[in-house]
Symmetry: C2
Subunit: 460 residues, 2 copies
């Protein structure tokens, strides 16, 4: 096949060394989710378009439709519009469908994690892709879900992120009941609340003045708009945000309830993970199904990059008519995070290949013996490969060096007396060569596999 090759915008791919970084991030996240008792599932890549359109605001603009190029006339998935398929644009919609489909076979509260690709037909930008990986956790109850899970979610994320080779981050938390109660207490009509939320959510994009102007344009008085701005500008890593909201002089029972819940989330976070979780009353999250705590996460010093991990509480994501399933979830934008780590050069891999040992070949007749050595090393967890072809030792070392393989194994030569000399292994970085047996030799622990770590800044 000979054909011009052009990358497709928004569909990034990695070279093997960068993929090692992505795999490391994915495995730390998955391992952390498992330690916190989340069960893994995967859902199919496609959902009926009708379901994808059901929630998520303007999601319809983002959906990729899927259809067989040569569909049979009788294929219901193609013909029946209610069964038309599209690629999922998040993991929440498929998960809610999965809960409904399997409710009788799941234990509630159901803690699940899910790490998969999702697709959105949006215009690609810095850190925004058309195909990307999300890593989600949700806890879903049948009929009810205790509030304390809203305090637990950000702690799981803090645990995962603290093990990753990334810089400092901040989980920003708000509670939907605070702005809602505050707006109602200000005398804003109930049907206006979502509109006001959406405008306030734009504060980082448009700035405070434009936000106030948009609120006035939407029908708020100047005083109401100013109070909305004042609320959005409150943040704290301790409980002081409560008094600052009270000082604005607005009262409403929903506001009281929201302040109480947010205070509880911030208090638990201050105990279990001090200094990382902050109340930030500007956080709204565009999606209208959130009903309680909402989360965003910023990389400190890279705030303009946007949130790399978001979510919240929803009282009714899904219902079968008899039972409603409330939940709370949070989603890591893995591709966004990895793209940032790689772009900034903040992360290093100790070597670009998993292979630890190259078994050198002096002559082709030794290949079978070399394969035996390789099998013995592998049986003890040491990744290795036999040289592509027989060559002089210098060439073999050059090959290993070019690949980033740290050790070269030399088979002992057979002397004229028929006695075979012992094998030896050379660390090509130090040049040190020692006698070795495939049944017992091991590399130093730090050389066993590539290690992904944060770049240490010289002199810092």
């Amino acid at each position: 096949m000979s054909m011009k090759v052009t990358p497709i915008s928004g569909f990034p791919e990695f070279l093997p060394a960068d993929r090692l970084v992505e795999q490391h991030v994915l495995s730390v996240i998955a391992e952390t989710f498992q330690l916190h008792g989340f069960a893994n599932i995967e859902t199919r890549a496609v959902e009926p378009v009708s379901r994808l359109l059901g929630k998520g605001g303007d999601a319809d603009k983002e959906i990729y439709g899927v259809s067989r190029l040569s569909a049979d006339p009788g294929d219901a998935d193609e013909v029946d519009p209610s069964r038309r398929l599209g690629l999922h644009f998040d993991l929440t919609v498929p998960f809610s469908r999965y809960v409904l489909e399997n409710a009788g076979k799941l234990q509630f509260p159901f803690r699940r994690y899910q790490i998969q690709k999702v697709w959105r037909g949006e215009r690609p930008q810095d850190g925004r892709f058309r195909e990307f990986v999300q890593a989600d956790i949700d806890v879903v109850g049948a009929g009810e879900l205790p509030f304390h899970y809203e305090a637990e979610m950000p702690l799981v994320i803090v645990d995962a992120f603290s093990k990753l080779p990334m810089g400092p981050f901040r989980v920003q938390v708000n509670n939907r009941k605070i702005p809602e109660g505050f707006y109602l207490g200000l005398g804003i009509a109930a049907e206006q609340v979502v509109t006001v939320l959406r405008i306030v959510d734009k504060i980082d994009k448009v700035g405070p003045e434009a936000m106030v102007a948009m609120l006035v344009e939407a029908g708020l008085s100047a005083e109401q708009a100013d109070k909305c701005l004042a609320l959005a500008q409150i943040s704290s890593t301790d409980l002081s945000f409560v008094d600052r909201v009270r000082e604005l002089g607005v009262e409403h029972p929903t506001l009281d309830s929201g302040l109480e819940e947010l205070a509880a989330v911030v208090e638990v976070a201050a105990q279990q993970a001090p200094g990382v979780v902050a109340a930030d009353l500007r956080i709204a999250r565009g999606l209208d199904y959130y009903t309680g705590t909402v989360y965003e996460t910023q990389l400190i010093g890279h705030e303009s990059y946007g949130s790399i991990c978001s979510g919240g509480r929803y009282d009714s994501l899904v219902s079968d008519g008899r039972t409603t399933y409330p939940g709370v979830g949070i989603s890591i934008g893995v591709s966004r995070l990895v793209a940032k780590l790689l772009a900034d050069g903040d992360v290093v891999v100790s070597r670009p290949t998993t292979t630890c040992v190259l078994i050198a070949l002096n002559q082709d007749e030794d290949r079978s013996r070399a394969m035996g050595v390789a099998a013995a090393l592998r049986s003890r967890g040491i990744a290795c490969e036999v040289a592509p072809k027989a060559a002089k030792f210098g060439k073999q070392i050059k090959y290993a060096d070019r690949r980033g393989i740290p050790f070269v194994w030399f088979l002992g030569a057979e002397g004229e007396d028929g006695v075979v000399a012992p094998d030896s292994v050379k660390d090509i970085r130090s040049g040190e060569q020692v006698p070795a047996q495939a049944q017992s030799w091991s590399p130093a622990a730090e050389d066993a596999r590539p290690i992904v770590s944060a770049r240490v800044i010289e002199g810092a």
Copy 2:
């Protein structure tokens, strides 16, 4: 969202316990590939349809086209037919494109593994899905690729499969040069060879008589057709197949070359993995880009289920006009394999959840202390979760039992004198309860994580 939920035929999903089996299979395969020095990559899910149509015979019938539901008029990916996108139906076509795109940045021979979902719009059947996971290894050279890699590939598969909880299997190997040289030596025209190959490939489906009849219908003499059948019926785990082919009295240099290569593959396999790899001269593989060794893999006793792992050598999968990239690859049908293991009940999981310990709560005020215990256990790799709500101990044990969690942790009670009793942990299977500290207690190694293993048949 309330909506009727119906599964989509051909798009299987697992409950958490079955997903543990799939995850185990995937991780054993990935770990084995790494031990053999294969680098991991992932490619995007979509390719231009023009590229997908380029190879693979009647692949056009299988392709899912992808397009944005509300495409912008100027979006070249939608408007330009040469850029129309489809979901990949295998990992070989995307990999060949990846090699071409990144040739300057890769080291050759390039050993890569790739484990991803692929999509085919075929009619779903037993073990055949529309969305499924493949696990591929390939070794690709720039310009040339030594033959010995054709002997190495099946050994990697044998290594992976021997670590999986599956029954006995057989890797069947053939070499395209054998039937090709044999047919040419029989006097069949060169342009007829692929047609004959495709008919012979149907022998398992239609039976030998029908196959011979189809060959005669395609223009072969009865004697030629009988010889084709005789060739296809030869198989052996040793080198005896060579003499049996010679006895058929057909001669051609391509046949000689094929026999020599297949003998080398079988010989290496007999040394490194005795009894598992067999020469089987009926194996043809439908895809016309194979030029040397070809592989299929059967589960012994389940031959009618078809191949669960297939591949072969290709001299020119891809070329940029200057350099041609030959390769050899093999692909495990992970979804097919896992579906079979689960359907036959041949595999058991020691428990249905990763969680090892439930931290019980006697009263809600203890949640913070319980979270501290959970954090201490997790920091030592023990998966745990805090009880959903405070309840009597009996209820907590019932909850753990229903979830399959083996241990329940009890916080020491505070006595009237203010002294806190030590914590304790109960193995709810044996009922044994012992004092424990979160900083030091560990479960038995076999209880740390769920263990996936082959079912032991009673009395066997």
